[in-house]
Symmetry: C2
Subunit: 151 residues, 2 copies
């Protein structure tokens, strides 16, 4: 539990250190960036999910490789939520992202923490551990989408 | 030089270990995946480029963070070049990607190797080292685009 707690704190520090400021040449790039990150993350998370739900054979090495990518990608999209980028382009971002910043950040930190635990689980080379860590990670994705993404 | 050579070999192993097989639910996902990876990589590489060309102040910590992302992303897009995905969707991929596989893989490996050297340079916390590593990395991007991407 101590390890898990410190991972979550470390994750929170990473998220907090990422300024949601204008690192992008134009607002459309911020949208494209966060959507690109989410898509890449979803592809690799989906491969872990297939193993964790017995839809694909368990490959311990592939699980670690995919979890490493997921854990890194989970830190990135938040910088793309530049204020005002719910009103332009093709996005499902809800305005609540900016009006409920504390809650949104809590969701962000939750995902970062869960993906780090997923990676740690993958590195044990044990499918049961992977399965156990997959569920809360998937739940972290879903709860943020439920609250902050339009259908 | 020995370190650099072993990095390149390790990079080559990573690329070779990535099957360009159907890891994607549909061919369009493979295109979206590689384009998403390239876009995320370009954003972070651009931030390093701004520092390396004196267009942005040097921030050693940010340089390392961006280089870590670039080095990881550089390993990924190749799996998205699934055979036949130059003929569908919105892509600038040239057919030569598949008819000149050896040359294409050499370009892939070159980029992976250069991005690993870029990360090593960033970690020295020395702007001159970053500048020195930035140029060959940018050249690796360009030479592959010149040969394998339509204008």
């Amino acid at each position: 539990m101590k390890v898990a707690a410190s991972l979550v704190l470390a994750a929170a520090a990473v998220v907090m250190a990422t300024p949601a400021s204008a690192q992008f040449a134009k607002p459309e790039d911020a949208i494209k960036y966060r959507q690109s990150v989410m898509f890449v993350m979803s592809q690799h998370f989906g491969r872990i999910g297939a193993m964790a739900t017995d839809k694909a054979p368990y490959d311990a090495k592939a699980a670690v490789e995919n979890a490493e990518i997921v854990a890194m990608m989970a830190r990135l999209p938040w910088a793309g939520f530049v204020p005002g980028t719910d009103k332009i382009g093709n996005t499902r971002a809800k305005p609540e992202i900016w009006t409920e910043q504390v809650k949104f950040r809590e969701h962000n930190e939750k995902l970062v923490g869960e993906t780090q635990k997923l990676l740690a689980a993958a590195k044990t080379n044990n499918l049961d551990n992977l399965k156990a860590a997959f569920k809360p990670t998937a739940a972290a994705c879903k709860s943020c989408h439920d609250d902050f993404r339009n259908k």
